[in-house]
């Protein structure tokens, strides 16, 4: 019987004597094939990717605007070729006037489209457009001297401070005796606001702006001062009775 000596390599012809469970040769071969093909496939993909990147990079470099081979440069060159006599100029050479002077195409009447029938619109009567004064605003007449009229002209601040519409300010015909009268149309003021001192203050400012002399006719404004800084809105009867003239 063969005896093993120390450090003598195990004889290769006796490898088969090693006890081992039956192996799956098919599985091992399949693994070998997978391991051999996978890196190749990865390498191919890598190669394709690198090639694509190189081509794209090359194209971008080639297509730079300042490059003589770029598309932009070549297009410019193509358009310049007729001027340089290198190619026939096929562009329109006629002046613009001639090009526009094209005879009008006459269409036979039979083929012309019929005009659409006109629809008559009924105008709205002016009376229907006016808004009754009493339902919308109160009227105030302010006596202003003729020479003071230019100072009244800038009515915009007045309008804005009173939140009036531009058409609310109407200049009446000049009166030789009392001077020009300015008629203001003031909107309905809420009772809560009318009782506040702010309303009187604003009103007073407007009178001053109009450069009007004399006292304020509160009744004319339709407002009755209560003496304690508050104001009451007068009924229409009181207002009417205090109207001048």
């Amino acid at each position: 019987m063969k005896r093993l000596q120390e450090h003598e390599p195990y004889p290769t012809e006796l490898w088969d004597q090693t006890e081992a469970p039956t192996w799956s040769a098919e599985r091992v071969w399949r693994q070998i094939e997978e391991q051999q093909t996978s890196p190749r496939r990865r390498a191919w993909w890598l190669l394709w990717g690198c090639s694509g990147a190189l081509l794209l990079g090359g194209f971008l470099v080639w297509n730079q605007s300042d490059s003589p081979t770029s598309i932009e440069t070549q297009v410019e060159q193509v358009f310049e070729m007729p001027h340089q006599g290198l190619a026939p100029d096929i562009r329109e050479q006629r002046p613009v006037d001639e090009r526009l002077d094209v005879p009008e195409t006459v269409v036979p009447k039979a083929t012309q489209p019929k005009p659409l029938p006109l629809q008559k619109l009924t105008p709205v009567p002016p009376a229907a457009m006016t808004i009754p004064e009493d339902t919308v605003a109160r009227m105030i007449t302010l006596p202003i001297a003729q020479e003071q009229l230019p100072e009244v002209t800038p009515v915009a601040p007045l309008i804005h401070s009173f939140e009036l519409l531009p058409e609310s300010v109407v200049a009446l015909p000049a009166d030789t005796r009392t001077g020009t009268k300015l008629k203001l149309r003031i909107p309905e003021i809420p009772a809560a606001e009318a009782r506040q001192g702010a309303f009187a203050k604003r009103l007073w400012q407007q009178y001053k702006r109009l450069n009007m002399e004399g006292e304020i006719d509160w009744v004319q404004l339709g407002v009755q001062p209560n003496g304690d800084g508050t104001f009451s809105i007068l009924p229409p009867a009181s207002k009417a009775s205090s109207k001048p003239n």
Binding site: R3, H7, P9, Y10, T12, Q17, A20, W23, R27, V28
Partner: protein
Amino acid sequence: MRTQIWQGGSSDRQVQQRLFTNYGERLYRVAYRYLNDQMAAEDATSEAFVKIFRTVDDQEFAHRNLFEAWMRRIVINQALERLRRQKRWQQERELPVETSRDGEDDVLAMLSLQEVLHLVQALPEGYRTILQLYVFDGFTHADIAKALGISLGTSKSQLNKARAYLKRQLKKANSI
């Protein structure tokens, strides 16, 4: 002189299959000796064959036995790499080397091959690997230390422990 088996080229699938048919099971058994696990041994064998197919064109073999030894070495390295991945060797504690074995019977030298094979398979994994590398596959302690990533002293101490273990096992077997 290149062995005749490679005349068709390593990339030739038929040549590869022939080589696998001839040596596959043998190399699997070598891997199994180290790994002691069928699936792990099969995986190591397949990895070894891939490496063999990839590098065999660069090798020159004067004799068929050298070619076989080269393949066996690759399989062993593959198996050791798997063992290293399991980090079993880092857990081994380095022990003082028993340099003197005077008066101690070299039990291993007195064993028959079959007895050795049987007992080796029953060894703990650490002992088994070093014993197989040193005794069966002709590795030196320097080779073992390098292959397993351990120190020279650890390789020697582990081998001595493996011998002592085998001796005890033999005595037990003889007493029975």
